[in-house]
Amino acid sequence: MTLTEAPAPPAPAAPPPAARPRRRGRFTPYWLLLPGILWLLVFFALPMVYQASTSVQTGSLEEGYEVTWHVAAYWDALSGYWPQFLRSVAYAAAATTLCLLLGYPLAYLIAFRAGRWRNLIMILVIAPFFTSFLIRTLAWKTILADGGPVVGALNALHVLDVTGWLGWTAGDRVLATPLAVVCGLTYNFLPFMILPLYSSLERIDGRLHEAAGDLYARPVTTFRKVTFPLSMPGVVSGTLLTFIPATGDYVNADLLGSADTRMVGNVIQTQFLRVLDYPTAAALSFVLMAAILVMVTFYIRKSGTEDLV
């Protein structure tokens, strides 16, 4: 999130000889920042510290906890729950890819082909936000219901045979399988892909397409050599905005999945709210955070786009 700062003259090095008492507002920025930053420090940064300390504590709920620098919680977390970790990353990656594949045409359509329908389509993309996402996720239970039209159609086309062979679905069911969870994740985070894609596509001068065409590029080549590279900032921030929340999500896995599709979010939630094993839960969440930060940093370096968001 490097920010484009307006180039401003560097501040005078020393107080000028004729300094007058008109150094207005030297402390103003700090007063403006104080309440909000304090809020983030106390309720965002400090909890991270607490969590890190909790992850190396031992004890029980009844006797209280003590920092013992016991790293067993990390060992438990990784040895006990590595399948959930891998599953989270795999599901999130699949959902992100699907979001990109589904979202790009729609973003492109809004940016270049929608004409006077642009605003309406925009509204239709954003409006579902205003209906509780839990209700909408529950609707997928109906859509993917056993013996429903969707499953019937997939069955008739023998799609389920292929996905079943791949281990994405089980028998005649879609619900309670990895496919259902990925489908739900894709659905939930699709707008987070479309909006950044749209905003970077919309900035592209339409004449560039004409120029590329004029210079003997076929439409596909124009897309590959001009449009797509120029939309890279949108692609990068879109994938991040989808991948990060998808990795930590447990709602879709819980509502649309089964015991075999539990993700790391589900484990953290159960450990924290049901099992009350705080050290393990804290360690899990710490590992998840570290893993995501590492992946995101690597990805941003790799894609060479430092100015996101």
């Binding site: 909000g36 909790t54 509204i123 205003f130 659905y187 839960a281």
Partner: protein, 266 residues
């Protein structure tokens, strides 16, 4: 051949519309099933048409209370996050100060963090402090995660504002306070409104962070979550449909008003 060419030219449009369908399908299902009369406790399969739920939207114990609570939390969270976020955005755009990089990171990190991590760590803090979970802990959490989004929205607007406008106000005898009230604030208003709207939507719809930090307090998303285990009343779909319609109407009306104003002055 003509058809193939047509298909080629409009492939992206067809694909985009299919995606749009995918996005809207659940809303259609929610709406249709708000007129269902299910046999069991769960409203997942179509039985027969009925308007019972629409006639008695609050007929489910606790649902409308949770809705009112969610609205209340969203309102306060929006106010808090918008006030704090706007101040930060102004500080970031208008002043140079030390620790700017650190402040930027602190704004960015909550957006780059999975909700479950924030939720869990905040709960750890509250447990350590011995805080009682409920309305206040939820509100604190909501202001925390909405703050960054407000900062981004307001900052974008303030950054695109010509600094000469404020200089012009000063040149025309407006002191610092007058300049802020008469010029800066009105011009930044759309950005602030966008940030506030976003904060409201995020807070109202938040489940994961609320689930960790609400204790026994039940917001509307938590009510829906609970009902997914116990049995989903049709009224949930009524509320979902109503929210969708209100949101679309709100946008359409505000657009129509904007258009009319434009036409009238032109």
């Amino acid at each position: 051949m003509a058809f193939v060419n047509w298909l080629k030219r409009n492939l992206v449009v067809i694909a985009g519309l299919l995606t749009l369908g995918y996005l809207l399908l659940p809303n259609v299902v929610v709406t249709v099933f708000s007129f269902n009369k299910p046999n069991g406790r769960f409203n997942y399969t179509w039985q027969r048409f009925s308007t019972d739920a629409w006639k008695d939207p609050c007929g489910v114990a606790g649902m409308c209370d949770s809705l009112a609570l969610s609205l209340q939390i969203a309102l306060w969270a929006t106010l808090g996050a918008t006030a704090l976020g706007t101040m930060i955005a102004f500080a970031l755009v208008r002043y140079r100060f030390r620790a700017r990089g650190a402040v930027n990171s602190l704004i960015f990190l909550p957006m780059a963090m999975p909700e479950v991590v924030m939720a869990a760590s905040l709960l750890t803090l509250f447990l350590n402090m011995g805080a009682r979970l409920g309305f206040w802990t939820v509100l604190i959490a909501h202001i925390m995660f909405c703050l960054s989004f407000v900062v981004i929205a307001v900052k974008a607007r303030v950054m695109s504002m010509d600094p000469r406008l404020e200089q012009a106000a000063q040149d025309l005898y407006a002191g610092p306070f007058q300049t802020f009230v008469r010029v800066t604030l009105p011009i930044a208003a759309p950005g602030i409104a966008a940030g506030a709207l976003l904060a409201f939507a995020l807070s109202f719809d938040d489940f994961i962070i609320t689930n960790f930090n609400a204790g026994s307090t039940v917001t509307f998303p938590m009510f829906v979550w609970g009902s997914a285990q116990r049995g989903t009343p049709v009224q949930i779909n009524v509320i979902g449909t109503a929210m969708f319609v209100v949101a679309v109407l709100f946008v359409l009306v505000s657009m129509a008003v904007g258009n009319r104003r434009k036409r009238r002055v032109a």
